[in-house]
Each structure stands twice: as structure tokens, then as C-alpha cells.
């Protein structure tokens, strides 16, 4: 039993990390080596795949497009969700609980359902193939998520804090920005993280609503794959780079996520 104490977690971690290792290893191999046989690590270590991505604008513009609409979406979602979550937490109004639940039901429909109406709508108003189109489309499921997360964090702050600030003389908005937002900074961080992640990994709407100018990286990966044959090394390098922003963001909010779980919301 004592040996199993370290064995089982080790096996588990190896099992979890194996696909990521394989992706990374592939990204440093040439396509010939990948197709040529089974190798555990790169025999012909090469950085050509990464060099290609960082120099070819069809590749790196995919990353830039993705980062732009994900950033815009995160900003819109959290900015809209913050006052909404405050209202849901602090005030009782007609139908508040139903409205709160209805918000969540927006997450229950698969995005594919909305692909066609969105495509038609955005084409009609001239937003097709713009960053803002994708950002707005993604708020459909990110706003409810952010409201849900933030409401939990806000409800854990006693309303006496609000009252103390009013007693001190703060007008509402000054209190909200100067006192309240720093108080729930952890919650805002967690909400940003989840908005970022969901928008970053969402492919269907992003692909449907863009053609050239705002094409996301995931779309670039699937489209270029067919035009230039199977450049597996290149695709692996692009995939590895796709993981980086998520890993970067999660590093900053890792402590708060645990708190979010403790509040039963994430």
C-alpha cells in the first residue's frame, strides 16, 4: 500500500500530461519524422514550425484575431454582468429568481442552434467578419456565466459594507468602483478567466461569423491544413501556442478559482 501512495498519483499525472507532451514533442519534429515512425522524443529537433507561425501573417494574424475578440468579449461580459450580479444579490424585485434562472438557460442550448440566426443577422447589419461580431455572439453564454459567478462572490460580502460606505458619504457609483470592485477582485478575476476560456475555445460561432479579416486561430488551423497538405509539425506548434494564453491566465487566478469552488459557483 505504501508504494501505491506515490505510484497512483504519478500514473495519473503521466496519463493526464501524455497528450500535451505528445503535442509539444510533435511541434519540435519535422513532418517526415512524425509520419516516418514511432519516436518518443524529437530526433531532429527543429524550431522551423514555430518560426513559420511567427513570420507568416496568415498564421499569426489568427492569434491576434482570436485575442482581440476574446479580450473584447471578456471586457463586455464582465462589465455588463457586474451591475447585474449586484442587483440580483442585493435587491428583491418582481421575478428576480426566474430571471436569474432564465439567464442560465441560455447556456443550455448548444451554440450551433444560434449559428444560423447569428450569421443571417450579422450579415444583414454589416457586422459579418468583424471582431465585434464574434465578441457579441460569445456574450450569449458568457454574460450568464459571469453573472452566476459574480453573484456568488457578491453575496458573500455583507451588505453592511455597502451601508458603511454610504454612511461614510460615498455616492453609489464611487462606492461601487472604489470600494466594492476591489473587495470582490477575486470574483472578477475568476469571471474574467472563465469568459476568456469559453470564448477562446469556442470554435463554431467564431468560424461561422468570420471569413478573412477576423478569422480565429482554430479556423486557420483547420483551413490551412488542407491547402498545404498535412503539415503535422506546423499544426502541433500552432496547437501548443493555443494552450499558452489559457495557461498564462490560469496562473494568475489559480488561488481565486479554489475560492470560487468553495462558494459553490464555478
Amino acid at each position: 500500500m505504501r508504494r501505491a501512495g506515490w505510484l497512483i498519483p504519478t500514473l495519473y499525472i503521466v496519463f493526464l500530461l501524455l497528450p500535451i507532451y505528445w503535442l509539444l514533442a510533435m511541434s519540435f519534429k519535422t513532418t517526415n519524422e512524425i509520419l516516418g515512425g514511432f519516436t518518443l522524443w524529437p530526433r531532429d529537433f527543429t524550431l522551423d514550425n514555430y518560426a513559420k507561425i511567427f513570420t507568416d501573417s496568415t498564421w499569426y494574424s489568427g492569434y491576434i484575431n482570436s485575442l482581440i475578440y476574446v479580450g473584447v468579449n471578456t471586457a463586455i461580459s464582465v462589465a455588463v454582468a457586474l451591475p447585474a450580479a449586484y442587483a440580483f444579490s442585493r435587491y428583491r424585485f418582481l421575478g428576480d429568481k426566474h430571471l436569474f434562472f432564465w439567464l442560465l438557460t441560455n447556456r443550455m442550448a448548444p451554440p450551433a442552434v444560434f449559428a444560423l440566426p447569428f450569421f443571417q443577422l450579422y450579415s444583414a447589419v454589416g457586422l459579418f467578419d468583424t471582431h465585434i461580431a464574434v465578441a457579441l455572439a460569445h456574450t450569449l453564454f458568457n454574460v450568464p456565466l459571469a453573472v452566476w459567478i459574480l453573484e456568488g462572490f457578491i453575496s458573500s460580502v455583507p451588505k453592511e459594507l455597502d451601508e458603511t460606505a454610504y454612511v461614510d458619504g460615498y455616492p453609489f457609483w464611487r462606492f461601487f468602483i472604489r470600494i466594492f470592485m476591489p473587495t470582490i477582485a477575486a470574483g472578477i478575476g475568476v469571471a474574467c478567466f472563465f469568459c476568456f476560456m469559453f470564448s477562446w475555445v469556442e470554435l463554431l460561432l467564431a468560424k461561422t461569423l468570420t471569413s478573412v479579416a477576423a478569422k480565429p486561430i482554430a479556423a486557420v488551423m483547420t483551413r490551412t491544413a488542407s491547402t498545404s497538405g498535412y503539415e503535422l509539425g506546423l499544426l502541433a506548434a500552432a496547437g501548443s501556442l493555443t494552450i499558452v494564453p489559457g495557461a498564462f491566465v490560469i496562473y494568475f487566478v489559480r488561488n481565486y478559482i479554489a475560492k470560487g469552488f468553495a462558494l459553490g459557483r464555478v
Binding site: 453592511e160 451601508e163 458603511t164 454612511v167 458619504g169
Partner: protein, 354 residues
């Protein structure tokens, strides 16, 4: 120059939180709201401070109607039972916060914060965040913030309830000194009669959302106007029993007969409710000429210097509070001594008549 509630009520939906209440609190006075949990102390404070609007009635301050004036323009301070501070600001910034909002100059702020911090022994902690302080220090920070501006009224809603015993004792001694000499109305809500007696000032007893009596604390204690005021202002709870007065004797049930105390000789014969505070029923007679009551001991709580004994007389539980340690055995029959000169008589409407 007063804070005045004129026929104020507060209802939320169908629930009445505050029944029609009129109160006049003088400037420079220390006022205690005494009542059990949910008796309406917090609601009353929120109404007076302007955090809630009364459903009906008006609130006047210094001869001006301030009903509906938002709390930001009231110049008041509130200290809560929970330790409420801004978690992301240092203790210094927490205390300075009301002055910063008011747009006061930096040097003036520094001297004021320094003064209050010294008063509350917070100077070594000024650079820390509230989360790094002990509970007592956090509450002292909140009190410091309430004192730093020259406010017209300070409301303290059970500020010591969440502190441990030792700190509470300490703060009880300090608090009245902090407010002495200020021209503001101080309102202090508490559930503990002993706190009210310690602070003196004026007391309003609250029962189920209504003020039952208001006046100088010792008056309320000695001369409660009705049964509820007496009940609120007694810890351990006051003993209450139904009696029949017949000339010079009073009958408690069938088998206990007490002589009628001199004070109530002249009231008409009939049914009354009597109230007798626990410390007027003792194990050992405190002086000659006390009435006797015999009961079966249910619980005997001994603290360092006194004994609180709960005993059963004909199905009714009585409480006795005596000086010294009386280790009485549970289930034993014991004779207690009641000081009938201190007994309260209430008529059928629960008003005190003697």
C-alpha cells in the same frame, strides 16, 4: 437640538418591523436600545440613520424634517456587530475614508486619524490591512472610522456582541469615555441588560418591533411601565406569576400565601400579575421579614461569586440569584426567601400599578 422620531412605522410586505414609534433623543446623550434579537433594534437604527425609509411617519433632526434625506447627506456614523472594514485598504485609509470622501486636506486628515488612532490604540497597526488584525482591533478600526468625522449621530448596533469575553469587558470600559464630551446623539443597541445598566444614559426597551418604554436607564430598571419592559430589562429573566390579592394576603396558586406588602395595601382585591427579579429571591435570607417560597431544584448554575438556581413551584419555573456559592442538589426541596418590597404588580393589561 434633537433627533426625533414622529409616529414612525416600518413595514416590509405584510410584515410589520416597527410599530408606530415616537422617540426624542437629546444631543450629547447616550441612548441604549435594549431588546431581544428581532425586537427591531437594527431596523430602528437604520431608520434613524437614514439607511431605510419609514413606511409612515417622519424623522426630524435639529428642527428639520430629514425623512427621505439619503444617508450620504446625514453626517452620521454606524458601527455594526460584524467587523465591517474595507478589506483592500490599510487601517489608516479605512479610518481616513469618510474624510477623503468629504475632500479634506491631507495634513488635516493625518492629524485627525492620528488622534483617533491614539485614542483607540491603533497606531502600530495603521499600515496593516483589516484582515491581518484580531477581532478586537478590527472593531476598534470600525469605531475609529465612526469617530474621525464630527458626525451628528453615532449608531452602534451590538458592537461588542462578536468579541470574546475579555475584550468585551475592556471595550465596555472604554466606550463611554470615547463619546464623552461629543455633541452628537449616541445610540447603542444591545441585548444585554447589564450593558445598559453599566452605560447609564437613557434606555428604550423594545419588544416585538415597538418601544415599550423610554427614559433614564435607572428609572426604567426600577420602575418598568409594563410587564414587557420589565421582561426585556432582566437577566436572568424576571419571575412572573399570576396571583390573587385578598385584603392583607396574596395567594400564589392554592397553597402559597404571602402577606400583602405595604405599598399595595390600597389596591382593590382581585387578580394581578406579579414580577420579581431573580436577585430578590435568595437561598439565604438577606434581611429579616422575607416571604418564603419552597420549590424543587431543577438546575443550579454556580459562577465564581453567585448562584443562579432554577426551581419548580407547582409546575411554574422560578429563578433565584444569590450571592455566594450554594451547591444545591438537583431534585431537592429547598426554601427560598423572596423580598416582597421589590415585587412589581401588573394589572390585567400588563401595566405596572405598584
Amino acid at each position: 437640538m434633537t433627533l426625533e422620531l414622529r409616529k414612525v412605522t416600518r413595514r416590509v410586505g405584510a410584515n410589520v418591523h416597527i410599530h408606530e414609534t415616537s422617540l426624542t433623543l437629546e444631543e450629547g446623550s447616550f441612548n441604549i436600545l435594549l431588546g431581544a434579537t428581532l425586537s427591531g433594534k437594527t431596523t430602528l437604527i437604520q431608520l434613524m440613520a437614514g439607511l431605510e425609509r419609514p413606511t409612515t411617519g417622519e424623522i426630524w433632526f435639529r428642527g428639520k424634517n430629514v425623512t427621505g434625506v439619503p444617508v450620504q447627506r446625514r453626517n452620521v456614523s454606524v458601527v455594526y456587530q460584524q467587523f465591517i472594514n474595507y478589506p483592500h485598504l490599510s487601517v489608516y485609509e479605512n479610518i481616513a475614508s469618510p474624510l477623503r470622501v468629504a475632500g479634506m486636506g491631507a495634513s488635516e486628515i493625518e492629524s485627525r486619524v492620528g488622534k483617533v488612532a491614539e485614542l483607540l490604540r491603533l497606531q502600530p497597526m495603521l499600515k496593516r490591512r483589516p484582515g491581518e488584525l484580531s477581532g478586537g482591533q478590527q472593531q476598534r478600526t470600525a469605531i475609529a472610522r465612526s469617530l474621525v468625522k464630527d458626525c451628528d449621530a453615532i449608531f452602534l448596533d451590538e458592537p461588542l456582541a462578536n468579541l470574546d469575553y475579555k475584550l468585551r469587558e475592556e471595550m465596555r470600559d472604554e466606550l463611554p469615555k470615547l463619546f464623552a464630551g461629543r455633541r452628537c446623539v449616541v445610540v447603542y443597541a444591545t441585548t444585554e441588560p447589564s450593558e445598559a445598566l453599566l452605560f447609564g444614559g437613557c434606555t428604550a426597551t423594545l419588544h416585538q418591533g415597538g418601544v415599550t418604554q423610554f427614559g433614564p436607564t435607572s428609572d426604567i430598571y426600577r420602575r418598568p411601565s409594563d410587564l414587557n419592559s420589565a421582561r426585556v430589562f432582566s437577566d436572568p429573566p424576571i419571575n412572573v406569576a399570576e396571583i390573587v390579592k385578598q385584603g392583607d394576603r396574596i395567594l400564589l396558586g392554592a397553597d402559597i400565601v404571602w402577606p400583602t406588602p405595604g405599598r399595595v395595601r390600597n389596591i382593590p382585591d382581585g387578580n394581578y400579575t406579579v414580577g420579581l427579579r431573580p436577585h430578590h429571591i435568595t437561598v439565604a435570607p438577606t434581611r429579616p421579614g422575607l416571604a418564603e417560597i419552597e420549590g424543587v431544584v431543577l438546575v443550579a448554575e454556580l459562577s465564581g461569586s453567585e448562584s443562579v438556581v432554577h426551581f419548580n413551584v407547582n409546575g411554574l419555573t422560578w429563578v433565584s440569584q444569590s450571592q455566594g456559592i450554594h451547591a444545591l442538589e438537583v431534585g431537592s426541596r429547598v426554601r427560598f426567601h423572596a423580598d416582597l418590597d421589590r415585587i412589581f404588580f401588573f394589572d390585567v393589561d400588563s401595566r405596572r400599578i405598584a
